[in-house]
């Protein structure tokens, strides 16, 4: 079987549900991946939703079942709305869910300071704790599957439910660089520990983009690269946290939450400057092909390191001039009043 391309839904096309007779108007594509496409749609109630479309009725039905099951445990995943088949298009199966607002983590990452990283890690750890309570692991933890909206209270949401696996079962969907087995540091079995290690590996690969040839390297060399990256971080408490997680020494999301609370929350970046640059360019390259990519707003760029240095110098000059002016005015007044 070779997977055919399903008729791409274009903006304005209408999808009529065969079973519910509801109509959806497509507003644009949010992402296309190997196992289907996600579109932004508007329902008859004028609300906006996300629609996952696939040619494989089984895959759609399976993901839907997972979403429904998980909606009882926390709100990390999009809320399921309804499942249906298209009445007009042949073999177009879909389900409709909440449209999650936010940007993929790799887009947000280069602009984050230590406080932002702490906030995001904490939100992710809490979301994982909720999920783990249902005895499921997320498994496919990658920047494109974590949508960040720093204006929301719950600032990290999970998309792509396809990888979610009951504890104890083999992991079916993963991203190699976030997978402990790929690094030779553990087995590929769904557990709380697997997720926590995956989160740590993801953070490490966000801090420094792995070399292209990584998958050809033997295990020892991969491990050495990972260890060097983690230990090279500016924030020592973050390095030890990541190292413990990657080596499977953090077994429970509660413990992860405790450890994240201990991280410093200052305004400095967590990566040294040279690394930061590399990470930023890598993130942009992978971000443009991101699957779960939602609308990307153009954000005003915060001043980089070099402009910050110049600002310091002019600021100092300004204060110097002001002080001189005040002293001379005070002197003049003193002279006048004497």
């Amino acid at each position: 079987m070779t997977q055919g391309v399903h008729p791409r839904l274009t903006k304005g096309s209408k999808v009529l549900g065969k079973w519910t007779r509801q109509q959806w108007v497509v507003q644009g594509a949010l992402g296309v991946g190997a196992n289907g496409a996600v579109y932004a749609v508007r329902g008859a109630d004028h609300q906006r939703y996300a629609m996952k479309v696939c040619e494989d009725a089984g895959a759609v039905a399976f993901e839907w079942g997972l979403l429904e099951q998980l909606s009882a445990h926390g709100f990390a995943f999009p809320k399921p709305h309804c499942i249906d088949d298209s009445a007009a298009h042949p073999s177009l199966y879909f389900y409709v869910m909440e449209l999650v607002d936010g940007q993929p983590l790799d887009v947000v990452w280069p602009r984050l300071d230590a406080a932002g990283v702490k906030r995001i890690l904490l939100a992710t750890a809490y979301a994982l704790r909720h999920l783990h309570k249902s005895s499921h692991a997320f498994c496919d933890i990658k920047p494109q599957n974590l949508l960040v909206n720093l204006h929301e209270n719950q600032c990290v949401r999970f998309v792509d439910v396809g990888g979610v696996t009951p504890f104890g079962r083999s992991v079916r969907q993963f991203t190699p660089t976030s997978d402990v087995a790929f690094w030779g540091l553990g087995e590929r079995r769904a557990s709380a520990r697997y997720d926590i290690a995956a989160l740590a590996l993801m953070v490490a690969t966000l801090c420094e983009t792995p070399p292209k040839t990584l998958s050809q390297w033997p295990l020892e060399r991969r491990q050495a690269w990972m260890l060097r990256t983690i230990r090279g971080l500016r924030q020592k408490r973050l390095s030890t946290l990541l190292e413990d997680a990657v080596y499977g020494r953090i077994n429970h999301a509660d413990e992860l939450i405790h450890r994240v609370y201990d991280l410093p929350a200052d305004r400095r970046p967590v990566v040294a400057k040279a690394h930061r640059q590399a990470a930023a360019t890598g993130a942009v390259a992978s971000g443009s092909t991101a699957l779960g990519q939602q609308k990307r707003k153009s954000q005003p760029r915060r001043p980089g390191k070099s402009t910050a240095g110049r600002a310091d110098w002019t600021e100092r000059l300004m204060w110097y001039a002001l002080t001189c002016a005040m002293i001379s005015t005070a002197g003049a007044w003193a002279e006048y009043l004497r």
Binding site: G58, A61, K212
Partner: protein, 243 residues
């Protein structure tokens, strides 16, 4: 359905078209008749596989009832696992579909989506519990030289994924061409883990591409295993193979 049910697959990893021995497409249809699914991954790096290679890869997969993907070395490992998983699911879905047809006169697609979702949860559970035998046939012709380290890692990675399944999983590895005049050779017989030293020693790139004989060899390995295991499990009651 019980845990002793078996799914059998052949995974061909190649970078070109066959030029020695019998027609691989015929061998793949032969496999399919025996209830064995044939998947093909074409690995390309700088250049392309060429139209001939690409067409042949697709035709082998079509004839073998499996999937075909042309990928860069970076994606090899993930693709091997995705294909194994998806084709297992396909096989099981076919079985479930047949059962549904005979019991209810409906296929999965004709069920309301909510019921479909329940059926899929059953398929998913079966997939984790069913036994799996995979033969990985690796093209070691001269042009594969630079890609062999990646292929080796991908095979190891596939075995890692299969090891943690609840059902039994056995992987065998053959290389084509074999040593000397042999068209294929057995690198590793069925086992639940991959012997990396063995792979390193015996995957040497040289010679032409006897894809057909490799598929033939894989079929005979799977058939042999079937006889052996049915003899062992005979006391547990009749075995059931998905064809």
């Amino acid at each position: 359905m019980s845990k002793e049910a078996m799914i059998r697959q052949i995974l061909v990893i190649t970078d070109g078209y066959s030029n020695i021995g019998e027609d691989p497409i015929q061998c793949a249809s032969e496999a399919r008749r025996q209830g064995i699914v044939v998947n093909v991954i074409g690995v390309v790096d700088k250049g392309d596989m060429g139209v001939v290679g690409r067409d042949e890869a697709m035709s082998i997969a079509d004839a073998g009832g499996g999937m075909c993907r042309i990928v860069h070395p970076v994606d090899l490992s993930a693709t091997a696992q995705m294909m194994t998983h998806q084709t297992m699911q396909m096989t099981l879905q076919q079985v479930v579909n047949q059962e549904l047809q005979s019991v209810m006169g409906k296929s999965t697609e004709e069920l309301p989506p909510a019921d479909r979702s329940r059926v899929m949860q059953v398929v998913d559970k079966l997939e984790e519990e069913v036994g799996l035998h995979v033969v990985v046939a690796i093209d070691t012709s001269a042009s594969m030289k630079d890609k062999i380290p990646t292929v080796r890692e991908a095979v190891r990675d596939l075995a890692l994924s299969l090891q943690v399944r609840l059902g039994t999983s056995q992987v065998a590895v053959i290389a084509f061409p074999g040593a000397g005049e042999q068209s294929t050779k057995l690198v590793q017989d069925f086992s639940d883990e991959v012997d990396m030293q063995g792979l390193e020693a015996s995957l040497q790139a040289r010679g032409g591409t006897p894809t057909g004989p490799a598929i033939r060899h894989a079929i005979s390995l799977l058939k042999q295993l079937r006889h052996d295991t049915s003899a062992v499990e005979f006391e547990d009651g009749p075995r059931r193979d998905y064809a």
